[in-house]
Symmetry: C2
Subunit: 161 residues, 2 copies
């Protein structure tokens, strides 16, 4: 018995993704991770379409059952937050299309699930993600590491179900 | 020669839409307008999927070539703004999928295109939309009237091309 969890850290220029397989005996392994990039000069709608098409490829390949994603929060830069929210809308639509169970967490919850406390630095999150998933190298870029952390966070909810 | 313009006023509970046909001799007519509603109790991702499916129906029926939509702006209620932004992401994805030309405008530009000044009240916008499109009744609800106003705004750009 296992579940495939897709963690997503949405954005327009870079959307981090991390796919993990979580086994019923609390073991987990990383199947894939990386960053979906879209070109800066392109119209927003075309970038969102590219994001959507790349998500479809990930779905075809790994057939995730759960989407783990950060809740939207007020950011110092409102323009960035509103753009990220549009990308998140595309991710959420993708989840509903494929009947993925959506688990959303605050940034604090995600950090706590990998590092015991919420004020962890990026490097510390990466180190813990590497350790938990038994990766050979630190997961990069940052948004891929954050996406894996979100997926790990979702797995910790599964454990206690 | 004519162009079909789809105006959208995005939201989660209600997304206003207005479809107009704009003829090369500056005449325009409303083909349809209304509001796409999604149930309040439902998960966000399911509501976004419903919005996406309803947009597809509108596309099939009217084959719009242009999408007219408001730019996102900072709202007093940041939570609402972030939710609307997710719905807008779904609308933008829809536009890119069907190769619609996207025209986005500030709320001020849209109001000015129907009422000569930017501080118009909702009722005044509705009256002007009714007049411009030759409707028999005031367009309702508010978000449908706003969507029609966005479409009219896009038509005024076409005129001078």
């Amino acid at each position: 018995m296992s579940k495939i969890i897709l963690g997503i850290d949405p954005g327009i220029a870079d959307t981090g993704f991390g796919v993990i397989e979580f086994f019923s005996h609390s073991k987990m392994t990383s199947l894939d991770y990386g960053s979906i990039k879209t070109p800066a000069g392109q119209d927003l709608e075309k970038r969102l379409l590219q994001l959507s098409l790349e998500l479809e490829k990930i779905f075809k390949r790994y057939k995730p059952q759960i989407l783990a994603i950060e809740q939207l929060f007020f950011n110092k830069n409102i323009k960035t937050a509103l753009t990220v929210a549009q990308a998140r809308g595309v991710v959420m639509l993708f989840a509903a299309k494929h009947s993925l169970e959506v688990q959303s967490y605050t940034p604090l919850q995600i950090k706590q699930s990998v590092s015991c406390y919420g004020q962890a630095q990026k490097m510390q999150v990466q180190k813990m993600v590497k350790l938990i998933l038994g990766l050979k190298v630190l997961p990069k870029p940052d948004d891929a590491a954050d996406a894996l952390a979100a997926a790990i966070c979702a797995s910790s909810t599964l454990k206690f179900k």
